[in-house]
Symmetry: C2
Subunit: 340 residues, 2 copies
DNA sequence: ATGAAAGCGCTAACAT
DNA sequence: ATGTTAGCGCTTTCAT
């Protein structure tokens, strides 16, 4: 390992240095630093004086070197910290971590399964006490060994592959189903459904919910009204435009995520269409959108919190069978209208 | 320190275990693990076999225990990871960190100076190689010692107090000045100015820019048109409403940050006012806002990247005099209008 | 090319 | 109540 901090004016003092200056033993310094009560007040004073004089600061790396000791660190692997979806989760996880006096190392995989793997294994090398994963990869069997070695793992939002472990999900299927049902109740017979790639677990679940609701209503299945693999808002706008321009246009749209919602919304507003809009996942400023829309909302912070809490239970020794928790969704009316 | 992982079925194997199983010395294992070339191929093989069999994973804590060695970790202190402003910075910092094979520990102070201080000192205890700070606190002199001890620090967005060190800022003053100047060029004589608390450095700078531009234009200073200490969108809407309802309403608004912009925007839209709107700081979906607005934009990722790069220069041994960098702003026309 | 021994900074076990 | 010793898992002299 290269010494990246060569040539410092000062080297950080150690407990030995403090002990020497204070004229006490190393162990006494250790006791004082760790607030062990049974220490003579005079010694405490002289140690603290020496600590201040030298600018001593305990080396926590050395402290947690002992085998099996906690490093007071957990790791979180996400796809992209700049995305509000992930940063909201990260923030909630950090909050729980703080409650447990634990630091959080957040690592972005940039959607690369290899990077995700490398990151998680590196976190194991640093002896993180546990790991949270919003998976990007498609095989997580390599984590089995790490879990056996004592590093618990909890998955968020998406299930692991090739591995059984704790996880927290959103009720994608139920939410989508409820959304479609609402649209049907409102009298819509032709609903345009626009989804991102079905390679994404949540999209498969949401589509399944859509189909279940349509089937339950006995509505004829119209291929022209379902489009998957739409990734960008612009593409979503285009798809919506195409459907609206067809001979039998939809009277409502169901959007698989909020990027799609935004694209469709823009298209509807531009052409002053009064088609209804429902989107999965709320987004910032949705209440400011220039026309009414309904969103299937869920509590992302709760997802992060629940997952982190499950993880800390494991860290604290819980060895029970892996658990899966599913968080509910809510239908929310959003968007503003101008005052008359 | 409590042993939080007591009772594991397996304990993580060490290099000694690997050496024993492979029938070689500890040092040979170390060489193989660290890809030292001068090792007999047979030994390499037997070591790797043992590594695989035991599920060995090097303990990076132990590795970086040696004094002065890098921990390949930097720390970032921000106010709130859930806020896109900070998560964007964090993401950019993480990106640079990754380029340097370094992990990032991001800690939210929740706007508490004490927490900020605790966090930063804890990061020093874990021997982070360096620290980035978007400061919440008002005294950072305690960092001087840490810097002397070899932990470089770089400030982002706001300057340190009681301490001289590297920093990267946005050109708040120049940006605000340019914004006001543009409004004046557009013929506006009465500009409502709404700011958050002047306890915030960036607000003071922006207000100074506003005042400079107004003074340069020789425009009379009207107290009724300047309001500071506005923190919430709702409050901003209220302030805008008050100004608009006055006997001499403004024809344009200048908003100190995007929370204020959103509040004012909503008010303008509701009452169908055609007052011009200019806001400091772009925001997601600004181009979807239901009326035109101009934003003073800046590159937050660049702020994070620049700061991180300065930090790594220090970590790599740069001991030159502290530097301050100021990033430019741009005026951007935003908002959409409905198709005819 | 390989290995034995020392030590990184700290804490736990065991004296005194 | 205080100090001594050993050892965490690894890397680094220094021998061989």
């Amino acid at each position: 390992m290269t010494n990246r901090s060569a040539g410092h004016p000062t080297r950080r003092p150690t407990m030995t240095d403090v002990a020497e200056l204070a004229g006490v033993s190393l162990k006494t310094v250790s006791r004082v630093i760790n607030n062990v009560p049974s220490v003579n007040q005079e010694m405490v004073d002289s140690v603290l004086t020496a600590v201040k004089q030298l600018g001593f600061r305990r080396n926590d790396l050395a402290r947690s070197l002992r085998a099996g000791d906690s490093t007071a660190t957990i790791g979180l692997a996400i796809e992209d910290l700049a995305n509000p979806f992930y940063s909201t989760i990260a923030s909630a996880v950090a909050e729980v971590a703080r409650e447990h006096d634990t630091h959080l190392i957040t690592a972005s995989s940039e959607e690369s399964p290899e990077r995700e793997r490398d990151l998680l294994l590196e976190l194991c090398q640093r002896r993180a006490d546990g790991l949270l994963v919003v998976p990007a990869g498609t095989d997580h069997s390599y984590l089995r060994l790490e879990i056996e070695m004592g590093t618990p793992v909890v998955f968020l939002d998406r299930p692991p592959t090739g591995l059984l472990c704790d996880a927290v999900f959103i009720d994608n299927r139920g939410g989508a189903s409820a959304g479609i049902t609402r649209l049907l109740e409102d009298g819509h017979q032709r609903i345009g459904v626009i989804m991102d790639s079905l390679a994404i677990y949540t999209m498969r679940e949401r589509l399944a919910g859509v189909q279940a609701a349509l089937a339950a209503a006995g509505l004829p299945y119209d291929d022209a009204l379902i489009r998957v693999g739409v990734h960008e808002p612009e593409a979503a706008a285009g798809v919506a435009a195409g459907m609206l321009d067809s001979s039998r246009p939809p009277t409502a749209f169901f959007c698989g995520n909020n990027r799609i919602s935004v694209g469709v919304l823009e298209e509807l507003w531009h052409r002053d269409s009064d088609a209804a809009l429902m989107g999965f996942d709320d987004f910032e400023l949705s209440r400011l959108m220039p026309r009414p829309l309904t969103v299937i909302a869920f509590d992302l912070r709760e997802l992060g919190r629940k997952g982190a809490e499950m993880l800390f239970k494991r860290i604290d020794g819980d060895r029970s069978w892996p658990t899966t928790e599913v968080l509910p969704t809510t239908l929310l009316e959003r968007g503003v209208s101008r005052r008359a």
